[in-house]
Every structure is written in C-alpha cells, then in structure tokens.
C-alpha cells in the first residue's frame, strides 16, 4: 500500500544530501587516514603510519615538554583536553549559578540576554573580542590590571606562550556560559514551584535546597550541557584561528587548526596526516556522544 512508498519519498532528499555531503565524506576521511597520499592522489596503504607520524609530532603531542611538566605548547591534542578540563566545568557551573541567581534579580532577563549573546554572535567576532580585550594597549583586561597596581604584568595575553591558551580558554568560558545558563533557566522553570515550597516547609535552608533538590532535578540538563560543551571544546576552531592562529609557536593550537594547516595551508598538503588528526578528533566527539547517549538511555 501507500504506506511503503511515502516514507521513502519523504526521506529521499534528506538521505541523498546526507550521504553525499556528510556520510560519504566522513567515511572517506576515516579510510583516507589509513592511506598514503601524494597530493590528491592515493599512492598506497599507510596502515597506521599517518597516526604514528601525527602523534609523534610535537604539534599534536609534545611528549618532551609534557614529561618535564612544562606549560604550553604541549601539542594540540593536550590543548583540546585542557580546554575541556577547564572550560566545561567552569562554564557549566557558572551557568547554573547565574540561572539560579538571576531568577529573582530585577532586570535578570536583560542580563541573561546579554550573557547569551556569546551564543548568538559569530565565533569569529568572539575571537576578535578576546584578542581585543587581551591587547596590551587597547585591551580592557590590562587596563584593569594597571588599575589595581599590577601594571608591570600588563601584556598582550594572547601573544605569550604561557598565557595564550589559558586566556583563550577563559575567554571561551565568557562566550559559552550563556548556553548553560539558558538551558538551566528553562530547566528551573520546569521544576514545579511546590517542590521548593514543600522543601522550605520541611525546613531546608537555601543552600540545602539548591544542593539536594535543584541540582539533582536538573541532572538531565546537566548531561546535555556537559555533552554540548565537551563537543564544542573539541571542535573549537574559529576563536583560535582569529585570535592567535594557534600561536605563538603552537602554544594555543588545537586539533581542528592543525588539521586545517596540514590540509589547506601548508604546501604541499599532507592529507594523510590531516585525515588522521580529524579522525582522532571525530573518534573523541562521536565516542563521547555515544557514551553519553548510553548513559542517558540506561
């Protein structure tokens, strides 16, 4: 009957586009990462040698500096992990606090909108904003530092190896907090007021209510926020490209950027290495997404 044909007709355009521009390229990249490339031509099977080359490169994994417990550059892979470790908890917690705090503040809606703007503006502009506030002369961060009498530390924070990465990560907290705040706000609204009232009648203090009722009830949202933040921290590109180009000396580089350099910037392109890098990256995003999904389904 009709029922068999229509779903296919409705699905066909979407499936065709996804196959051509998403799934096929994705599979191609994964396979390509195991092949030997010469320019655009495949010249043989590489096995895992692309991966060895990539993971052995100090741009991706700077084992020497890592072992000596030095600061960046530590390699793009480590930078991405640092990004997750620092930005995700900070922006998630901050978003939750702001959502709770701004609920009963006059003008809270306006403040929320402003904080959310980081999610609305292009990340390129986000990168510009960060580069701008960290600028030695024109940047407001240094103005504050001078104001509190620490003028000798004033510098272009994104231009120094020890601070470039961390200042971008802190900046990304500034950009990304709006997301978790908005989700948590929506989540808070969906908790029935009676629950808080009942808790108060039962004699719970504000902090205990927050810790024992609000936080657990927002767990599904926390999972979503964490997932999206981790994925975003893994995929970060625009901000770094605009603010530092991964510099100085690779001190703020990330995987997506390293992939870009190898495939589209350096001449001749090294597609094998680029594909290996992005396969590693995808393995992390996809693996993480599947892991969380399993967690949620259980």
């Amino acid at each position: 009957m009709r029922r068999h044909r229509t779903p296919l007709l409705f699905l066909a355009p979407a499936l065709a586009m996804l196959l051509l521009f998403v799934i096929y390229p994705f599979v191609y990249t994964v396979c390509g990462s195991f092949l030997k490339w010469k320019g655009r031509s495949i010249v043989g099977v590489a096995g895992v040698s692309n991966y060895q080359r990539v993971l052995g490169s100090s741009d991706i994994l700077n084992v020497r500096r890592l072992l000596k417990l030095k600061g960046p550059p530590l390699g793009a892979l480590v930078h991405n992990l640092l990004w997750i470790l620092i930005q995700v908890p900070l922006s998630t917690a901050l978003g939750l606090l702001l959502a709770v705090l701004l609920r009963d503040v006059k003008g809270g809606v306006v403040i929320k909108s402003v904080i959310f703007l980081g999610m609305v503006i292009p990340m390129v502009v986000g990168g510009i904003l960060l580069r701008f506030i960290y600028d030695a002369h024109a940047g407001v961060v240094n103005a504050v530092i001078r104001l509190i009498g620490l003028g000798k530390y004033a510098k272009t924070w994104t231009a120094h190896p020890d601070t470039a990465l961390y200042s971008l990560i802190v900046g990304s907290v500034w950009i990304w907090t709006g997301f978790s705040m908005v989700l948590y706000s929506a989540g808070l609204e969906s908790i029935p007021k009676e629950i808080f009232e009942a808790a108060r009648i039962d004699g719970a203090s504000g902090f205990r209510i927050f810790w024992h009722i609000t936080v657990p009830m927002l767990r599904p949202i926390t999972i979503v926020v964490l997932t999206m933040s981790v994925l975003w921290a893994l995929k970060v590109f625009d901000i770094v490209f605009v603010a530092t180009r991964g510099g100085p000396g690779g001190a703020s580089s990330v995987l997506a950027l390293e992939m870009y350099f190898r495939a589209f910037y350096h001449m001749p392109p090294d597609y094998g290495a680029a594909m290996a890098i992005v396969t590693i990256l995808t393995l992390m995003t996809l693996g993480f997404a599947v892991y969380v999904f399993r967690l949620v389904v259980k």
Binding site: R3, T6, P7, L8, F10, L11, P13, A14, M17, L18, L20, F21, V22, P25, F26, T29, G32, L101, D104, V105, V114, I115, L117, G118, V120, I121, P122, V124, V125, I128, L129, R131, F132, H137, A138, V140, A143, F179, V182, A186, S190, I221, K235, F237, D238, V242, A256, M259, Y260, A263, F264, Y271, V278, T279, L281, T282, T285, L286, A289, V290
Partner: protein, 275 residues
C-alpha cells in the same frame, strides 16, 4: 529590600558588567578614530564621534564588507530554506510513518550531529572541485544545507510528535494525499517551530567561518566572517576598523535574535528539553 537581596543585585549586575564591557568596548572603538582608542577606548578625552571606520570597511578596496554582506545573505537565505524543507519531510516521516530500520536510521542521523566540520571537509573539497563548485555560493549552500539536516530533523521530529494526529487523519479522510496533508496541514501548524529553526539555522550559516574559509577562495566571493580577519594586520591591528567590521558582522545575527528571541531560545532549549 533586605541586605541579602541588595547583595544579590550587586553581584548580579557586576557579573553583567563583565559581559557587557567587551561589547561596549568594540562599539566605542568602532565610532572613534584610531588615535583615540589605540591606548584604550575608555579614555574619553578627546572624544570624537565618527563613522569613518564603518565606511572604510564597508567600501574597502580589496575586501569591501558591502560585497561580503551580499554574499553572506545570498548564501544564508537559501541555506536556511533548503534544509528546512528537506529536513521537515524527513522528520515527518520519522514522526508519523513506520518503516523498516526506522530507529536505526534515526539514531544514525542524530549521531551525525556530533561530527566536526573538519571531518568532512577534505573529501567535500575534492568533491566540489570535481563538480566545479569550489569558489561558488552553490557549493557552500549545498554543504551548509546538508550539515544542518541532522539537528533540524531531530528538532522537527520531536515537534511533530506533539501535534495531534487526529487533525492529519481528518485531512486524510477529507481526501488529502500524504503530500497535501504535509504541505496544507502540518507545515502551517508548525510555523512556530519553523521560526525557531529558521532563526537558528540562518545564524548558524551566517556565523560559519570554516566552510567558507575552505570553499570560497577569491575575495569577491568572501562572506562577512571571512572578511573580518583580513582587517587584522600582521603587526599592527587597526582596532577601529576591526571593531566596525565586527559590529556590522554581528549586527545581523543580533537582529535575528532580537526579532525572534522567544523562538530562538526555544530552539536552543527545545532541541534538548521536551515541551
């Protein structure tokens, strides 16, 4: 107000200040001459108001923002409409029909959302080269449309499931074919959801940098986000011009956000939380 509430307000507005100042900074920098802001836009003496930076970047010799705006719009509008049409049909299929491997297919599509842009770009670059779509708007439109499909499918499928089935059944009894049910009943009933999606997808495409960076190679094809970094010099950054260009660039998504704020937030939240 109790002291505690006063404290909360002070804290809240201080935090707000941290978020507002950078925007305020670029805005002030964009309307003052370079000489006045190079050592800090917060120095208010002297204060000259000028739109020179705007006209400079708008009519720039090599990278006129005027042209970039046209390019961005010519890409963002079709790359919003096409995926909505395509994805909504698929979403409807997932929401209303049963067919073999439906759940598997749906999960696969949802999983695609986590893919980074970088993982498809090399083969897409090859593909577009072979099809002669490098450095064309069409190429970028196709890529954005495809890449936007998974989340729109997920969002709309969830939305369609909340619509009352009886209305569609009534239409079928009244003589409508599947396509008629879809275009005459379901689509019009879904306008709020479509508004959310349109706002988000438009901004997503407008804000994209990476795909454009790879696929659009000549300055006359550049989109706005691509043009901004061009104003950052190697050693000296003309903050006045960079600021003006940034303000112009973000003004479009900001206007979309302001106009569709309610739906925008619903879109961000709705994909995630039910109801």
């Amino acid at each position: 107000m109790s002291r505690k509430r006063v404290l909360i307000h002070v804290v809240a507005w201080s935090i707000a200040l941290i978020w507002i100042i950078p925007y305020l900074g670029v805005f002030i920098a964009s309307v003052r001459p370079y000489s006045e802001i190079v050592d800090g836009w917060w120095n208010l003496h002297p204060f000259t108001l000028t739109l020179d930076s705007y006209s400079a970047v708008w009519n720039h010799k090599t990278y006129p923002l005027k042209r970039a705006f046209v390019n961005s719009i010519l890409i963002a509008i079709p790359a919003t409409i096409i995926p909505i049409l395509v994805a909504s049909l698929a979403a409807y299929s997932f929401a209303r029909f049963s067919f073999p491997v439906k759940d598997m297919l749906f999960l696969t599509i949802v999983a695609l959302m986590s893919l980074p842009q970088q993982v498809v770009i090399i083969p897409v670059f090859f593909l577009m080269s072979d099809m002669g779509l490098i450095n064309t708007r069409l190429g970028l439109i196709l890529l954005h449309s495809s890449f936007g499909l998974p989340w729109i499918i997920l969002f709309l499928r969830n939305f369609f499931m909340t619509l009352p089935v009886e209305v569609e059944e009534a239409a079928r009894i009244d003589g409508a074919s599947d396509f008629q049910v879809y275009f005459r009943i379901v689509m019009p009933m879904s306008l709020p959801a479509l508004a959310s999606i349109a706002a988000l997808q438009f901004n997503w495409v407008w804000n994209d940098f990476f795909f454009a960076l790879i696929l659009l190679l000549s300055p006359d094809k550049y989109v706005v986000t691509q043009t901004i970094p061009m104003f950052i010099g190697r050693y000296l950054i003309s903050w006045d011009k960079v600021a003006a260009a940034s303000i112009l660039d973000m003004s479009v998504p900001l206007v979309v956000f302001a106009l569709l704020q309610k739906w925008y937030v619903k879109g961000v939240v709705g994909g995630v939380i039910k109801g």
